[in-house]
Symmetry: C2
Subunit: 431 residues, 2 copies
């Protein structure tokens, strides 16, 4: 099977109209995607996307197009037979790497393309992505990872060993997840743009739906955050509260804000400061303990994650499926997290992210961490109707996906209707 | 004066034909620029560029276009009257920031636009950029800087104090530089794609031209590096040798390679590993001392520079004029470097970079560091003919620029001739 073409779609959903998704830094997001389709000479196509929040989606689209010559014409077997070299060819093209290296727009573009290849591989094998991964041997899995710049923290032999000790019991853990699902938490109840009455109602609904963990947005005004935390805390019963500042604070601001908000006993504070500030996270973590520090959705690559682990800077590793360079790099980060004993709680919520990360979480439990302790996957219940095989949560737990592929394929009608700027929805809004 | 339009040019020079610019990671660069012109309703235009090395320049161009609505229609006075807010409006647009934040393609696009504004400001004041900066009071200078995420290392009051202590003697230092120039070093003698005989000849030429510092590229093959270092070392007399690995090594590889190459007594090893690896640089620095560790040309923003300083990870700070977000962010980094006692040796060589950084180096000496000790500015003698006011080096020293602006304006004929892909040069090459 040969990849014959690559097409890019700019798809945007006008979510800012309801302020779903709003937080301290992203006050009016329009959940969007730079979406890519890899056409083949067979009856299969690979789909992938990078999640964005409106303006600038076209820049990621341009990044994806810049990668097209490195993909078109390749055979699927040639690519999957040496995934490490394929991944390196995208991230270290000797001219394109100047635009990163391995960060921002180009890394997101890489993620979209790389994930589309994994989608194609899983479809061609007739299995969901998590199953494709779980059926690879430790050596095969490790052969997909580029260890450049992380060998001082994890080398290929250690990675194989980590996977080997997790082989016993794989089948039991698969059965367990298929029966019970993977624990989810909800962020939908407490976006920053929602008023207190709305939040109170949504928290009670979430508990009634079976969620045991609820996340609230904080960071614009600590007094208002405290008032809202009080409302939520009162409604929660014994369930857990998490807080998310979305990078709004400097290091000292984060420490003093959490001194105020600590009395509501949050499990974690997420993104207390810049995702680039490894040393800042380490200082915050020391100061706010026993509140956990979580980050990852904006961490650019395995090299920054490596340092977050080396510096004991985080308690919770929030991998994102399309911020770093796709499945290959996520595997590197998961394995480092396992070595350093940091639980992985994937970032989701953005359009397509729940669809993506359910596979990663299932694989993590089945083949890497072998534990569900302190692990939950983010869930936001919107925009799933656009996907051919949407993620599903029941009684506060993700159901294990069963359709072949990476679950990221959208309905052609959605791609068309929400195309930016010429699709009917935007054509109407922009008039 | 009002900014009425923003136009983008994709300009590429086919330098890979001679392998000028080649190094361990960038084997065949075509030195290029995403070039921006801010048109106004007056008789002046602001020019700026982000340096790139060929493929992907169009992605930075798309990034610049995404910023256009934040600039077009603004008055120059409104922008320069509150530069900090203007800068924040580009780097923290609540949808665009998702693409970074503050890194990679979008930060380079920001640099091109921000630098074009400073070019326009300096032209409207009728002075070269370094003079505009040197004529601002400490309070005015500090008011252009966004301290978000760096206040734990440097706050605005400290920044003002650092500038105040450097006020006495400003005029004397200006006169000194006008008379004697600013020390330069050359990289042109030892690109990785050059053979040994060519390198030997070029090193001798550089010494004859007055250079006292020569940099060589290393990193593909340590034995070959050693042989070449021996050739250069023998030719150098008492002049200094620097080495540049362009990120090719992991942390442990860097340490063992420099154990080999240390016998040629290099002043510094530049970019020994990933620019994202603060902790890795700190480990390398400790291991290779007394060889200095230099980095910066790929460091994405002030937040990573902050950590390089906090972690004692570098001996030499190599600011780049258009990798971080333009003049405003360069000022933040220079002031942190001054506080932490790390000399600034700007990165240059790429098309337009010598033109840019000469202003920054002059300002640094005149108004911040007040010292030339351990400070040299990179020089590569090519592509200057495309600039209206090219940088000039004589007897191994940069001449202080005198034309109004930031010296980055290219001849219209160059923009046209080297336009990619439709200009006559590329039209010919691509046929």
């Amino acid at each position: 099977m040969r990849i014959t073409d690559l097409t890019v779609h700019d798809v945007r959903f006008p979510t800012s109209a309801t302020r779903a998704g709003s937080d301290a830094m992203h006050t009016n997001p329009d959940y969007s995607a730079a979406y890519v389709v890899l056409e083949t000479d067979a009856d299969l196509a690979g789909h992938g996307l990078a999640f964005t929040i409106g303006r600038g989606t076209e820049v990621v689209g341009a990044g994806i197009r810049a990668l097209a010559p490195l993909v078109i014409g390749r055979s699927l077997e040639g690519v999957t037979g040496d995934m490490r070299s394929f991944w390196r060819s995208l991230t270290s093209d000797d001219q394109l790497r100047w635009l990163g290296p391995e960060k921002g727009v180009m890394q997101m573009a890489t993620a979209a393309v790389v994930n589309a290849v994994w989608d194609l591989w899983a479809k061609s094998a007739g299995v969901p992505l998590w199953r494709l991964l779980a059926d690879l041997s430790p050596e095969e899995l490790v052969s997909t990872i580029d260890f450049r710049y992380i060998e001082d923290a994890l080398d290929p032999d250690e990675a194989v060993d980590l996977l080997r000790v997790a082989v016993p019991g794989r089948d039991d853990r698969v059965r367990e997840l298929i029966e019970h699902g993977y624990p989810a938490y909800t962020t939908s109840a407490a976006w920053l743009g929602y008023d207190d009455a709305q939040v109170d109602m949504l928290v009670r609904e979430a508990l009634a739906e079976g969620f045991r963990h609820v996340k609230m947005k904080v960071g614009v005004d600590t007094a208002a955050d405290a008032r809202r935390a009080e409302t939520i805390h009162a409604a929660l019963g014994g369930a857990s509260l998490m807080m998310d500042a979305n990078q709004v604070w400097g290091v000292d601001e984060a420490i003093s804000a959490m001194a105020e908000l600590g009395r509501f006993d949050p499990w974690w504070i997420e993104e207390p400061t810049s995702p680039d500030d490894v040393l800042g996270h380490a200082r915050i973590r020391e100061a706010v303990a026993p509140i956990a520090v979580a980050t990852g959705e904006h961490v650019q690559n395995r090299i920054v994650f490596k340092q977050l682990f080396q510096a004991d800077a985080i308690d919770v590793c929030q991998i994102d499926a399309c911020r770093v360079g796709g499945v290959n790099e996520v595997l590197a980060i998961m394995l480092m997290a396992a070595k350093f004993g940091v639980p992985v709680c994937p970032h989701a919520g953005g359009v397509g992210l729940c669809e993506y990360v359910q596979h990663l979480a299932v694989f993590d439990y089945v083949a890497v961490s072998t534990s569900l302790e302190g692990r939950v996957v983010e869930w936001v219940d919107h925009l799933h109707e656009h996907f051919v095989h949407p993620a599903r949560v029941s009684n506060g737990r993700y159901l294990v996906p069963t359709a072949p592929g990476y679950s990221i394929e959208m309905h052609p009608a959605s791609l068309e209707e929400y195309a930016y700027p010429a699709g009917p929805v935007w054509d109407g809004l922009l008039r």
